[in-house]
Symmetry: C2
Subunit: 190 residues, 2 copies
């Protein structure tokens, strides 16, 4: 049973997550989040001392989302190839959002990378990318490609990120559709 506080905290994080994605962290104010969540901004400090603390909660949420997703695929799908196919399909399935706002991981990583004083929130997207890379390496290793598993994982992830960035820049899903097709073919011919 969740306490009322936990529930309210969750609503703030949810609203912030959505606004950070659509408008960017820098262009989202507490007033915006207050309006979207229906919670007065005076309350925010009861739950989060600074904006960065709230940002960290949002990034943790995205990290947990991926951790759960990857874990689910490992139990639901027996074949490593099927898991990888499922992975490269993410931008395609979410293409409407990717076209409009970019990749939720890549775009926030790019935004946070610009701030000069290196803070904890800056290394969080890195950790989530790392989680995905390690998972990919595991699948490639299971396919007998232990030696170049790291290389293949980097290739897959950079492909996906490049396609998402350009699909967003041009607001054209041809980038995502084509690259996804190419990646499926890449996995099949391993």
């Amino acid at each position: 049973m969740k306490s009322k506080g936990e529930e309210q905290k969750g609503r703030i994080v949810e609203a912030a997550n959505d606004l950070f994605y659509r408008r960017g962290v820098g262009r989202t104010s507490f007033a915006d989040i207050a309006e979207a969540s229906g919670i007065q901004k005076g309350n925010f400090y009861f739950y989060f001392k600074t904006k960065e603390e709230l940002l960290l909660a949002v990034l943790q949420r995205r990290h947990d989302f991926f951790a759960r997703l990857l874990s689910e695929w490992e139990t639901a799908l027996a074949e490593p190839k099927d898991r990888l196919h499922r992975m490269v399909d993410i931008p395609l399935r979410d293409r409407d959002d990717v076209i409009r706002y970019g990749c939720p991981l890549g775009s926030i990583s790019a935004e946070l990378g610009k701030s000069l004083p290196v803070s904890k929130s800056q290394t969080q997207p890195q950790a989530t990318f790392r989680l995905i890379l390690d998972w990919m390496e595991k699948q490639f290793t299971a396919l007998g490609r232990k030696e170049d598993a790291a290389f293949l994982s980097r290739r897959l992830l950079s492909h996906m990120q490049g396609a998402s960035l350009l699909g967003h820049a041009f607001e054209d899903d041809v980038w995502i559709i084509e690259e996804t097709e190419d990646l499926h073919h890449f996995i099949d011919t391993l």
Copy 2:
């Protein structure tokens, strides 16, 4: 002979270009640009009515830079393959900056794509990407790949963008070194 006004305007654009790249547009204030350029911010309004107008001048500068570069390569290098090799070498040559601040085109495109009211500055990075894509297609066509020139160009550019984004995210040039090598091989086997 440049007038003093033109020179001052150029200095403002130059300082803004640098700061927009390193800190991001949103985190760069007029005060920062004033300090970097040595020009009082009170004067800015004489040259640029709004921050967006200054941003447009910066984006135009980057566009002109690429237009000149691509044009130079067409006269200096006879072989289309050599031109393409030169192109994919850009992130590698600039890798120190790319690792620290990302791709000057990709990162600003990602940042501007987050603002909601669609403004003119948002479509400018798109135009520069378009310039590069058209140039690539021209080279592929000269190599007898007219049919899939657009496809190959998208592939090349998304590869480069993905590698730059992740090299920046991880602050590790392995992404750029590896992907560049791969792209050289890709061009050689055309």
